[in-house]
Symmetry: C2
Subunit: 156 residues, 2 copies
């Protein structure tokens, strides 16, 4: 498939990924989840569409979901925007090195959302295995690890 | 279909909508577009998933797309978060009156995005007809009308 030149270097992300992860934070009980992530090339556009859903591990109970876009530039500079039904949006500046992405940015929330102020998202892909780590600054806690997952590509 | 209590009053939005719209702004040439909008009930959750795509009128050339979530509360207070591949996110407070929604909020952008600072989004539904108006404060212009469209429900 042909993709826009500015996302050529992000092709390694494209597809559907499934796997498991775990969440930790000082203010919550640790929890395990299953996850599906999709990265789709924009329609002739310089961005990758991102979507994600999680379920409580071993159940069909939906937990989180989010959607957004990775903006390519044809260089190692990338950007990421995300919306979450929990009332959170994120705006990130990122760096692409090989098949690793590191995004750092601000989170802005609606009035009734949990107060999250910043996140850091690392994505590392090795062939058909994707691992990510998400650190979060929220509810008066400093930036620290919140989510880790390991996913496998199940469809291109 | 059963939906979460907090989005019961937003049922009138659910479905797929198609139609046409036009865009104006002091800094651009007016343009016409076709559009498809979907509103889907969250999976047992108190939110409505929002997705949208437009094409240049009379063509298959993709123009804009965006995704987000409307957060219901079981009252007239609603919230809206949106992510756009143009590098813009929006965080809104809204009011639901009958089958009309008015959202007012801030836009935050990535470093390379067009500078948009605020939008106002009005949605009015009358049976199977949805009309919206989007006003925008951007590129040093005051808040003013940018997009208007009239859509028809083509699927529940």
């Amino acid at each position: 498939m042909r993709v826009h030149h500015d996302i050529e270097d992000l092709r390694f992300l494209l597809g559907t990924w499934r796997g498991t992860g775990e969440g930790v934070y000082p203010t919550i009980e640790p929890f395990a989840y299953t996850e599906e992530v999709t990265f789709t090339a924009g329609p002739g556009k310089p961005f990758v569409v991102y979507g994600q859903r999680t379920w409580r591990a071993g159940t069909e109970e939906p937990l989180h979901s989010e959607t957004g876009y990775i903006r390519g530039s044809g260089s190692e500079s990338v950007e990421l925007v995300i919306a979450q039904p929990t009332g959170i949006v994120e705006v990130h500046t990122g760096v692409l090195l090989g098949t690793s992405l590191v995004f750092e940015g601000s989170a802005i929330t609606t009035a009734t959302a949990r107060p999250v102020s910043a996140t850091r998202r690392e994505i590392d892909v090795d062939g058909d295995v994707l691992q990510y780590h998400l650190s979060m600054e929220a509810v008066e806690q400093p930036l620290q690890l919140h989510l880790s997952a390991s996913l496998r590509r199940v469809a291109d």
